[in-house]
């Protein structure tokens, strides 16, 4: 069999056809890490996508790069959407990247949602904590990067609308790891200046670029600020945690500047309006008072001044009459009472009072002596009874009946056992006593 040699280019073309024909390779989702990154003058991006074991070449054409939300660089982990084809000139196959985003952002979204829920629960977003944005701020503080679109937009907008407003820039990093502490530091420093308003923000960017404004420390610094804060982060669609905490949220730095100050024309109109309204109000007031005065002047009473005292005279008469009437009645009453007293029986017979008392005294005397007699009688009776009782128990009464009392050495002898033969005893009789000697003792 004759060998049919083909050209290299034909092989590569064939391989390219094979790859291009495979519908699976038309749309492929790939993840890996960027290396050998090159940003070509033409604007196309060339790099290698690799994992632990393999690598593949990748190219991203300029027209696809506009929608990139991050800056690709070596070592970044990415998620890629594209197609696979062959580059015949090199004989390599490669991935043509159409879309590319950073891998690992899923975690950031979770963090964002968690922090949002937490702070919301704590009440940091509550409307009642929102401070009023002053209408005519004299001095505005701006916490943002000292270079870049954000500060330029804010300053140019303020100067265009309301050039008399002073501005102080508190420069802060707004991207990267140091951004959050830097923003917090500058918000806190701003508290020491007499500012009517603070604008805190930066221009748009990827979720990673804006991340400082999703940090808890920044959110709390905004919440704690004594100065009202307008947040101005990113573009309209990006809501950061800072936006929720701020007293007012602006979609862009320019928007924040517009919300912060009126235009000179608005203010001039306001002054003119005030001027007109004040003049009108005063004119109205004066007219009203004039009318009022006129009405008063025309009033019947002022036209007929005698009306004022006519009524009073009548009232005086009425009162006088009332008093007289009352006084007459009073006198009559007293007179009647006096007459009654004069005619009373007691006054006419003063002895009656005396006699009455005399009788009462005698009566009392009788009652007293009666009671006294009764008491004496009672005691006499008791006394007699006691005397009789005493008589009954008197030992001498026993002698009266013929008994005698036997004593030895002044002791009364009641039994023969107390005596012996020849004891000297004394016998007390009703009349007189004798001394005797015991001749015999018999115990029976």
């Amino acid at each position: 069999m004759e060998k049919n040699y083909i050209k290299v280019s034909a092989l590569n073309q064939y391989i390219k056809l094979l790859l291009d024909d495979n519908s699976f390779l038309h749309k492929i989702y790939l993840k890996g890490e960027i290396s050998n990154f090159k940003n070509h003058m033409s604007g196309h991006l060339y790099f290698t996508l690799k994992d632990e074991e393999s690598r593949v070449s990748a190219i991203m054409f300029k027209n696809n790069t506009y929608e990139l939300k991050f800056t690709p660089e070596d070592g970044k982990k990415v998620l890629i959407e594209g197609r696979v084809s062959c580059y015949p000139a090199q004989g390599t196959y490669q991935i043509y990247v159409e879309k590319m985003e950073e891998d690992g952002l899923g975690n950031l979204y979770i963090l964002y949602e968690e922090l949002k829920r937490k702070l919301e629960k704590e009440g940091l977003f509550d409307a009642r904590y929102k401070k009023e944005i002053p209408k005519y701020p004299r001095r505005i503080g701006i916490v943002t990067a000292p270079s870049g679109a954000a500060i330029r937009d804010i300053l140019s907008t303020i100067k265009r609308r309301y050039p008399i407003c002073e501005t102080i820039l508190f420069p802060a990093l707004v991207q990267g790891k140091s951004a959050a502490p830097d923003i917090v530091k500058q918000i806190n420093k701003a508290q020491n200046y007499p500012l009517d308003l603070l604008i805190v923000g930066r221009g748009g960017g990827s979720i990673e670029d804006l991340w400082a404004f999703n940090e808890e420390s920044v959110a709390r610094a905004i919440f704690d600020s004594q100065i009202p804060i307008i947040s101005a982060v990113g573009h309209e669609i990006d809501y950061t945690i800072s936006d929720f905490v701020a007293d007012l949220r602006a979609p862009t730095p320019t928007g924040a500047a517009e919300l912060s100050v009126p235009t000179m024309l608005e203010v001039q109109n306001l002054i003119d309006q005030c001027n007109i309204r004040i003049k009108n109000s005063l004119k109205k007031k004066i007219e009203f008072e004039e009318q009022h005065l006129k009405k008063l002047k025309e009033s019947y009473l002022l036209q007929n001044p005698n009306m004022i005292y006519e009524a009073k005279i009548q009232k005086l008469d009425y009162i006088t009459e009332e008093i007289n009437h009352w006084f007459e009645k009073y006198l009559e009453n007293k007179k009647n009472k006096l007459m009654q007293l004069e005619t009373s029986y007691v006054l006419k017979n003063p002895l009656f009072i005396y006699q009455n008392k005399q009788e009462k005294i005698i009566n009392y005397q009788n009652i007293c002596s009666h009671h006294m007699d009764r008491i004496l009688e009672k005691y006499q009776h008791q006394l007699n009874f006691t005397i009789n009782t005493l008589k009954l128990v008197n030992p001498l009464n026993i002698l009266e009946k013929g008994y005698s009392i036997l004593k030895k050495d002044e002791n009364i002898i009641k039994t023969s056992k107390d005596l012996k033969i020849n004891d000297m005893i004394c016998v007390k009789l009703r009349e007189g006593s004798i001394k005797a000697i015991v001749k015999e003792v018999n115990h029976e």
């Binding site: 002053p134 209408k135 005519y136 701020p137 004299r138 000292p146 270079s147 870049g148 679109a149 500060i151 330029r152 300053l155 100067k159 050039p163 008399i164 407003c165 002073e166 501005t167 102080i168 820039l169 508190f170 420069p171 500058q186 420093k189 009517d196 000179m264 203010v267 001039q268 306001l270 002054i271 005030c274 001027n275 309204r277 004040i278 003049k279 109000s281 005063l282 109205k284 007031k285 004066i286 009203f288 008072e289």
Partner: protein, 75 residues
């Protein structure tokens, strides 16, 4: 008179409200009116003679310095 444009403006708006409410004595109203006319004059003069305020920047050492956007940073 140590008043600022902003406070004058606020005072002016207050007087308008008070006068328009009508619950004010005539003497007081005239007093307020006189004051308001002074405020209008003051504000208008401030506004017409307003020069552009400078922007300052807080430096690391805590001092304020004048701040200008550098030309080359403009697109």
């Amino acid at each position: 008179m140590n008043r600022t444009f902003e406070s004058a403006l606020q005072e002016l708006e207050k007087i308008v409200k008070e006068l328009e409410s009508g619950n004010i004595e005539l003497e007081k109203a005239i007093e307020q009116y006189t004051e308001a006319m002074k405020l209008v004059k003051f504000c208008s003069e401030k506004l017409n003679h307003a020069s552009e305020s400078v922007t300052q920047i807080l430096k690391e050492n805590g001092e304020l310095a004048n701040f200008e956007i550098k030309e080359e940073e403009k697109e």
